[in-house]
């Protein structure tokens, strides 16, 4: 044995999301992929597991643990992947597609979602919902050996923008989970449709918010915002003979929450006094977040030296008149 010279760094690794055809099978080389404009990312290590430990026996002479009493527990493992990225049109569309099946602008989460393919994800049964997430050069072997996670399900997507941070670029954070063990090896994407960073030229930016930003029709001087769409994803079953692969996933309900921080003034006062659902519009003229039934969830004040701010946490719902009504819409083109 000798000390290894291989290593991994984030600068060496681009990150790609690939569309799958069949849960349990990674995106094929000639598939559809998107290179994500990531700024940060993290993922669970391979061989993830917890240790199952038997209780101690009572009595003198056996109050220790043998190797029969401690086991790797893999039947319930879920690897987690988190990507933070510039909110380009393609990246937003792709994450919305993974989270609620709408990847064509305007991406709309309806009261009647999820659709059947979003809620019935089974191993080996055709379904385009799960994705492969590929990290270039991320394997233990280092350069030229990749690491990818198969059949990842999106559990959460956050868009957050601050006029004073990141050059105003709105950042996206998406969290995925998978019950499948990651693969360390080469996966090359050739043929097919591959959208690279160079093609992602339209970016959500707070400084472009020249159109009115309104809550309940009141014009807000917006400093920052956050919008989060989240749902629970759990694995179902395990196949002990095949790497403890899951039989499928169970899906929880969508919660849409967020917050606004704006100048505290007469407009913001009128925006937080409504006890029924009201409309939210955040619009750059290209990127446009809208929700029709937003409930303020206990507003507060930031006593900042550059003027007091109104902090408005909120929850989005659909209009109960029809389940076909939208909870939230995220448009990425004018």
């Amino acid at each position: 044995m000798a000390k290894s010279s291989v290593f991994q760094t984030s600068a060496n690794s681009s990150v790609v999301i690939g569309t799958e055809v069949t849960p349990g099978t990674a995106t094929v080389a000639a598939g559809v992929t998107l290179e994500m404009p990531v700024t940060e990312y993290s993922f669970s290590e391979s061989n993830k597991h917890s240790l199952g430990i038997a209780p101690f026996r009572s009595g003198i002479g056996g109050m220790t643990q043998s190797d029969d009493m401690v086991k790797w527990q893999r039947h319930d493992r879920m690897h987690e992947i988190t990507l933070t990225f510039h909110a380009t049109a393609q990246a937003i569309d792709r994450i919305c597609l993974a989270l609620f099946g709408d990847g064509t602008t305007p991406n709309i989460l309806l009261g009647s979602m999820p659709s059947e393919i979003q809620s019935h994800v089974k191993h080996g049964v055709a379904n385009i919902t799960p994705v492969t997430i590929w990290f270039e050069n991320a394997a233990h072997a280092g350069l030229n050996t990749d690491m990818y996670f198969t059949s990842c399900m999106c559990t959460s997507f956050t868009l957050s923008g601050d006029v004073a941070s990141n050059g105003g670029v709105v950042m996206g954070t998406a969290t995925f989970v998978t019950g499948y063990e990651p693969t360390q090896g080469a996966l090359t994407f050739t043929g097919g449709t591959h959208t690279l960073l160079a093609a992602q030229t339209t970016m959500f930016n707070m400084h472009d918010m020249t159109t009115a930003q309104t809550l309940d029709g009141e014009d807000l001087v917006l400093y920052n915002f956050e919008l989060n769409i989240a749902r629970e994803v759990n694995r179902v079953g395990f196949d002990q003979d095949n790497g403890f692969n899951p039989a499928g996933y169970s899906i929880g309900g969508y919660e849409v929450t967020g917050s606004l921080t704006c100048k505290r003034d007469d407009e913001s006062a009128a925006a937080i006094d409504n006890t029924s659902g009201m409309a939210l519009e955040l619009d750059t003229g290209v990127f446009h977040i809208s929700a029709s039934k937003v409930f303020v969830d206990e507003s507060s004040i930031n006593f900042d030296t550059d003027g007091w701010k109104q902090v408005i946490p909120f929850r989005c719902t659909y209009d109960s008149g029809n389940t076909s009504n939208a909870v939230v819409s995220i448009a990425t083109t004018a």
Binding site: G101, D102, T105, L110, M113, A126, S324
Partner: protein, 62 residues
């Protein structure tokens, strides 16, 4: 292009309907019997899906 689903739309498999095109909202609205503006990025539609839709023409203003 504004459309409404014909009964045949419900018989399309999930690999042929708007779910496969990445527009679950369009799919669910059509299944709910609504008139839907098809997202521009999905046009032109393939024949299989187009045959299951009725285009709603805008009324002429005289």
């Amino acid at each position: 292009m504004k459309c409404k689903a014909k009964p045949e739309y419900s018989k399309l498999s999930n690999s042929d309907n708007f779910l496969a095109l990445g527009s679950a909202s369009t799919h669910l609205w059509l299944k709910a019997g609504m008139e839907v503006e098809i997202p521009k990025s999905l046009l032109p539609l393939n024949k299989k899906i187009k045959d299951c839709l009725t285009e709603i023409k805008a009324k002429e203003v005289k």
